[in-house]
């Protein structure tokens, strides 16, 4: 579904944020992307979703290049950033309808989806209020529903559990599993190692722009834990 090949990203001034990164996310995979602050996670994610331009390497979604055919790729993806800055002047339902219009989701499908996840995230009653009145968690819930409303083939999330209440976090994890079971894939960054260990079938660990560990979760942690692996990688010079 997602293939990143020899991807590097250098910012103006010469700082190399990501160096020769390669990884693959197959249909049905939930891949946890782990690394310390400033390791290059958000840079990679933003390049995958077509927000950042890059010069070195190749990123393809379903064998389509994000560089040459960004619109075709974006149609298959949904992205939730680490900080859900949504259109504050719109109501929650107006925002969801806006996203559904952009993706051309039929009315019945969008209503079913919003009803389902609105109820699961306990936000339906607030959807008529303007987004500027929402808390961080509520905005995050609306951003998640907006991402799910068009049933993406690839769901990409940057720190999705920050600000979510425990019930919403469980609902999100279930939604991610459900999506993968239906033939999609999930690629997300997180600092919550326990969640990654339990939820992800694949792990990629990045340090200072370099991929330090990548593979099936069980193969990587063996008899230990993800926390131990993370500390090992962090201490490596």
């Amino acid at each position: 579904m997602l293939q990143i090949k020899n991807f590097s990203k250098t910012y103006k001034g010469g700082k190399k944020a990501v160096n020769n990164l390669s990884l693959t996310v197959e249909v049905g995979d939930i891949l946890g992307f782990i690394g310390h602050n400033g390791a290059g996670k958000s840079t990679t994610i933003k390049s995958v979703v077509g927000i950042l331009d890059f010069e070195e390497g190749e990123i393809t979604i379903n064998n389509i290049s994000i560089k040459t055919q960004p619109l075709a790729c974006k149609k298959m993806m949904a992205y939730i950033p680490d900080n859900p800055d949504l259109y504050e002047h719109l109501t929650g339902i107006q925002y969801l309808n806006f996203i559904a219009d952009i993706f051309g989701v039929p009315a019945k499908e969008r209503i079913d989806c919003i009803q389902k996840y609105g109820k699961a995230f306990e936000i339906t009653a607030a959807l008529g209020d303007v987004i500027s009145s929402y808390s961080h968690g509520m905005k995050q819930k609306v951003a998640i529903i907006a991402a799910l409303v068009h049933k993406p083939k690839l769901l990409i999330l940057d720190e999705p559990f920050v600000g979510l209440d425990p019930k919403a976090a469980i609902t999100l994890k279930n939604a991610m599993r459900e999506l993968c079971a239906e033939g999609s894939a999930v690629f997300f960054s997180t600092h919550v190692l326990e969640v990654a260990e339990k939820l992800c079938n694949k792990i990629a660990m990045i340090k200072s722009g370099n991929l330090m560990a990548y593979g099936d979760t069980q193969d990587l942690i063996k008899d230990g834990s993800l926390e131990e692996l993370f500390m090992e990688v962090a201490d490596e010079k």
Binding site: F103, T124, G128
Partner: protein
């Protein structure tokens, strides 16, 4: 310990004016934007200073020197009042860093003082641009004592205090009253609009009285008449006049004392209500009773268009500042429909003005429409939301088109109605009516593409207050100047080049505008987000 007011003010100004852009090594987009902004500000400042100097010289030549101190003070105060009212919501209130600043261990009055100081600093620049050249003209045509210099300098430093305070109070009142209701932003827009209309009417009234005074044959009484009028209107001006003309230190002391006392009173009173006003602005009434029944499908373009239109009408700062040109175009057209021809002719200081009205009016409407360029800030106003557009499967061209379409939606009905009203009143033939209606409509095509082009080139997303983008950004100024100049250029040609027919100017202007629009549209279409 450093002064907290100065520290907060410094941080606010560095953030708003983007001084850190200069710290980057080598050339950066931010640095380029900063220097362009500087060039625009220098051009505008030089024009204002030149205009103020010419007024100063004219007054002196006409023997009205004694009116000059009061006139300079009143003109700069009026300018400050007009511009600061629109700015207080966004500079003094509802700033994005409000929560961060309020959590600091500083008094509320210190926070207000720092915000006020930032407004004062910018307003002081405007006062200097008006009063310094007028003072220079005064010195050149009058014998002045050594005391004149410190008095004039102190006058310039104190001058912004009273009007800035009054503007802040009006702004605070508007925001405070509006915050009591459900649709706060809409009410802020309506109240501010009412204030501006009242202000414009007052300026027009004062201007008319002023103008009639100039035609009085008795030149010896003229200075006294204008002086009395100004002093009645603004008593602080008489104190300043006494200080300058008679070297009256007591008057200067009262002028300073009153301005300072007024400011301290304002600070004390606003400190009591500052939290309440901001809390009301940041607190939204919620119903939390939504039930999902039906949703309407639409095309991506329709979705973007609706979102963009909502963005425009949800911000009072956006509506009032960018919509000003439309309001002025409406005011002018309605006034022109009913005012006697002689009164309109009086406003154009040229021979054969009656003949020129028909030629000038379509371009005046064009210049006013040019002030309502939403496209030059609409992309920047995406701010932190830009990730949404960048990650959605929509081409940049569609996004730009939706933004230009919103601008057209605002411009075309105004252009059509205003030019129809003007053609009813002034068109001498069918061809003339066609030109009066056609030229502004063609011009409507240029404004959005020019604005969009500018915003793509100069726009930025990391702003703290939308006021900074709408009123003080390089893209806003470049959008305004570019589209305004194309309207003003034909007016200058009509006024100063003899024998140019309306048809020739209209055809040439239309062809230039259409070609420029087509060229820019192509550039915009190929641009990336």
């Amino acid at each position: 310990m450093k002064n907290n007011t100065l520290l907060l003010c410094k941080a606010l100004l560095i953030n708003q004016l983007k001084f850190n852009a200069l710290k980057n090594k080598g050339y950066s987009r931010n640095k380029g934007r900063f220097y362009l902004m500087l060039v625009v500000v220098v051009i505008l400042s030089a024009s204002l200073m030149g205009y103020a100097y010419m007024i100063g010289v004219s007054f002196s030549v006409m023997g009205l020197s004694e009116v000059l101190p009061a006139y300079g003070l009143v003109v700069s105060s009026f300018l400050l009042l007009f511009f600061t009212v629109l700015k207080s919501n966004g500079t003094l209130f509802a700033l994005k860093d409000y929560e961060m600043v309020m959590s600091l261990p500083v008094k509320t009055s210190t926070i207000i003082a720092s915000r006020f100081l930032a407004m004062y600093a910018l307003n002081l620049c405007m006062v200097i641009l008006v009063m310094l050249p007028m003072g220079l003209a005064y010195i050149q045509h009058n014998t002045v004592s050594a005391l004149f210099y410190p008095i004039w300098l102190v006058g310039m430093l104190i001058a912004p205090l009273f009007p800035t305070t009054i503007a802040a109070i009006i702004g605070a009142l508007i925001v405070w009253v509006a915050s009591k209701f459900r649709h706060t932003n809409a009410l802020v827009t309506i109240f501010s609009l009412l204030f501006l209309m009242a202000f414009l009417s007052l300026s027009f009234f004062v201007g008319k009285v002023d103008q009639s005074s100039f035609t009085t044959e008795d030149m010896t009484n003229m200075g006294g008449m204008i002086g009395d009028m100004i002093n009645d209107l603004y008593p602080l001006a008489s104190l300043f006049t006494e200080a300058v003309i008679e070297n009256n230190i007591i008057s200067l002391g009262i002028f300073i004392g009153f301005s300072m006392a007024w400011y301290l009173l304002f600070l004390a009173l606003l400190s009591k209500k500052y939290k309440a006003i901001n809390t009301a602005l940041f607190t939204h009434r919620t119903r939390s009773d939504y039930q999902l029944n039906t949703l309407q499908e639409g095309t991506p373009m329709k979705a973007l268009y609706k979102k963009e239109l909502k963005r425009f009408f949800s911000s009072s700062v956006y509506v009032l500042n960018v919509g000003m040109g439309l309001i002025m175009a409406w005011t002018l057209s309605i006034a022109a429909l009913f005012l006697p021809t002689e009164m309109i002719v009086e406003m154009i200081p040229m021979e054969g003005a009656e003949r020129l009205i028909e030629s000038i009016l379509p371009f005046v409407i064009c210049a006013l429409l040019g002030m309502s360029c939403t496209a030059c800030v609409s992309l920047s106003l995406e701010g932190k939301n830009i990730w949404i557009l960048q990650s959605l499967p929509i081409s940049p061209k569609t996004i730009f088109q939706s933004k230009m379409l919103v601008n057209l939606t605002l411009l075309v009905p105004t252009a059509l109605t205003c030019s129809l009203l003007l053609s009813i009143r002034f068109a001498s033939s069918f061809l003339s009516a066609l030109i009066i209606i056609g030229v502004p409509l063609i011009y409507c095509l240029f404004i959005p593409v020019w604005g969009m082009f500018i915003d793509i080139k100069l726009g930025y997303y990391d702003w703290v207050s939308e006021t900074a983008i709408i009123k003080q950004s390089a893209n806003a100024l470049a959008g305004l100047i570019g589209s305004g100049l194309l309207g003003l250029l034909p007016i200058v040609l009509i006024l100063f080049v003899d024998g140019l027919s309306l048809l020739v100017i209209a055809v040439v202007a239309s062809l230039v505008i259409l070609s420029a629009s087509g060229f820019l549209y192509k550039l915009v279409g190929n641009a990336s987000l």
